[in-house]
Amino acid sequence: MARAEAAPGIVRPVRVADLMVWLWRLLASGQFAVAIIALLAIAGLLAVAIPQIPPPMRGNSLAIDAWLEVRKGTFGTFTDAMYRLGLFDVVRAWWFLTGLGLLGISTSVYMIDRALFAWRAVANPRLRLPDSFFERAANRVALPVPVADDSASSALEGVLRRRRFHVRAQTENDSTFMFADRFAWAQLGGLCTHGAVLLFLVGGLVSYFGGFTQDLLIAEGRTSPVFPVSHDSQMQIEVIDAVGRFDDRGAARDYRSEIVIYQRGEEAKRGVTTVNAPVKYGGYTFHQAAYFGEGAQLAIRDAASGNTQYDEVLALQDFVPAPAVEVRDAQDRPLLSDVIVPTDFIGDARGTLVNVPQDGGQYWVGVVPDADGKAYSMVVYGREGDDTRLVMPEGSAQSTGGLTWRFVETQALPSTIESTIPGSSPNTAVVLAETPGGTPYLTMLGSVDGQALTLYPNQPVRVGDSEYTFVGRREFAGISVTRDPGANLIWIATGLLIAGLLVTFYVPRLRIWARVRSDGVVIAAQAERRGPFREEMKRIEKELAALQTAKREQGDQADA
């Protein structure tokens, strides 16, 4: 074929094909991959060394600005530049993502580039190699065994087969060429490892683009949809029972919930989900992710029709300070021991009117914060001519008028402010407390005509046309619904990676080319490690020598 030669001194334009070949070679090169991995490793170190923007702040510019202001104390004038470079959010920085993408492309190109070659080396190796290979190979040995007869090649072949080599032979003129391979498939170990890296990246991408996460806080007895409004795969989760177990110090030991999953109008799955053992259905995983124990179900019905007007589980996320108080008489007999739920809020003071049994007196008992706001003092004011005025710190006791008042402790009572309770004031405070006997009760402040309403479990109280019922205490389960389509790919990748590394490092693949001629035998090898080759050659040489000796003895006996 005629070929155009470039004249000396003329610069030939770069052809697109040349550029593509160059790009392909660059992406397929190991050095390029190592350079990218090094870059990503450095980025990882930076992400560890430099404070990173907390994930919940992402997308909230105000929160990020406040966070950066704090960082200026450390990084000074460099802070803004570092932020623009993505050093405070390394894993989402454009250059990090570009590096990841390049690594994926490089690994893919390498795999494609090597796959054909590796498979051909395994399935269809070259038998006949040039003499120069037998003269220059790093791993080669010329056997001193004088093998000059026609049976030399068959003897060597027999020894190699006994040594568990797969042998193929080819005779040309006076030479026999052999290729012997052991653990040929180990060549694919490297591909396996690279395939794993690629699968990790693919798995990450699949999870990123196809993943789904939804966190739900669901009260016992309540249902919540997985997707907002309607969806082809819509499911509802009902929490039957939410359980939180804590140790003596209040540290969480276990969260678990019995849940029911509904889909297409039918119960699809029922089970107990925990933090480590989620319920799975339809490709979705339902984890117990959180627990909140302070809830109260309040129901209001129309007294005439019985129709529900209101039925909600209130999450009592706030706390109201309340004094635990003991009152004794002059003979030290206990008259009162209870936690006083505040109903009056006067300035900083929170308290209520208390009737002391047997004594008959009425007192306003409450707490006021100390000047530093870190503790509370209990106040006791007498009424109707009683000039009792007590202010005492936590743990102390004071006596007056024949009564001894002890401020045992300040308790934080779960509470919330609700604005949607029918018939109540716009901001109704709801407080949950327990009687000394352990029965929970709900106090609604300002619900009816500004008065407090106390409700005990399942004891309806009629006010006007409505009937108020504290149905009971309810716990909340935080359920995290996730779908991670890339997770299985990650598992496969992990298995491939382990298998590939094991094969690469622990399977002693050995490829031997032998040339048998009348002037002797030369064996050369392509071996990753020299040690196994030498050991193998010693054994082959020994076995060949033994064969030679046996043959010689047979000849001597025949001669005799």
């Binding site: 190991g30 390498y110 494609i112 090597r114 796959a115 054909l116 070659f117 590796a118 498979w119 051909r120 080396a121 399935a123 269809n124 070259r126 190699l129 040039p130 120069s132 290979f133 190979a137 060549q187 490297g190 309540r222 249902t223 919540s224 949809p225 907002p228 409004v229 309607s230 969806h231 082809d232 795969s233 819509q234 509802q236 009902e238 509904y262 889909q263 297409r264 109008g265 039918e266 119960e267 699809a268 799955k269 259905y281 339809g282 490709g283 129309d302 019985g306 129709n307 529900t308 007007q309 209101y310 039925d311 909600e312 949607t420 389509p485 299985n488 790919l489 496969i492 392509q526 990753e528």
Partner: protein, 215 residues
């Protein structure tokens, strides 16, 4: 990355090798991924395809425009199962004012508005007013408990697949739950409420449709 000896010759791609080394592994990978996808998505049965949005007959479209859940447009028709049994087709109710209310028991504002809907239905049903209450994809038992508790004695249909809600644009940027539509006797949407209904809102909407509705 392992290296081959320099004496091995240039690469030559033949079809058989390409088939063995690329196509087969890729096919295997596709098989694995497909299997995983099937494994993950199993368990999702299809609802009865008869139910859902249906075409509004031409003779029942009082406007010159296609149906849409917008004021002045013909209400999109649907056929759904009723909680009490049987079917309900929206266009069959033409001739009287209808309030179509989309709701779910897990939706707090739906619970908030339901007493007002129940009360107004009781007040105006004698004048021909009716309510079509469309539940979104919930089990019958949940719907039934809710309906009993709130005293809902109007027709309750269940949108099991959620495609009626989709047609009525529930779940977009502005129309969540609850959403309600007041439809006149000709089947034309007169009011759209993407908020919890109150007795006052229903009164105002029905004022032009029912002679006895409070102004």
């Amino acid at each position: 990355m392992d290296e081959e000896p320099q004496f091995v010759g240039g690469r030559r791609v033949d079809l058989r090798s390409a088939l063995q080394s690329l196509v087969l592994p890729l096919a295997l990978l596709a098989l694995i991924v497909g299997g995983l996808w099937y494994w993950q998505s199993r368990g999702e049965g299809a609802p009865d395809s008869r139910y859902g949005p249906v075409e509004l007959p031409e003779v029942r479209n009082a406007t010159n425009d296609s149906p849409a859940p917008e004021e002045g447009r013909a209400a999109p028709d649907f056929l759904l199962e009723q909680l009490s049994g049987g079917e309900l087709r929206l266009s069959d109710l033409q001739g009287k004012p209808v309030l179509v209310n989309f709701w779910a028991s897990w939706c707090p504002p739906c619970r908030e508005e339901m007493p007002a809907i129940v009360d107004q239905y009781a007040r105006y049903k004698g004048e021909g007013f009716t309510v079509v209450s469309v539940n979104l994809q919930e089990p019958d038992s949940k719907v039934s408990t809710f309906a009993e508790s709130f005293g809902m004695d109007f027709p309750i249909a269940i949108d099991r697949a959620g495609d009626v809600a989709e047609t009525w644009r529930i779940g977009g940027a502005f129309a969540g739950l609850p959403s309600s539509y007041v439809i006149d006797a000709n089947g034309v949407v007169r009011n759209v409420f993407n908020q919890p209904l109150t007795e006052e809102l229903i009164d105002e909407a029905l004022a032009e449709l029912l002679p006895g509705a409070a102004q």
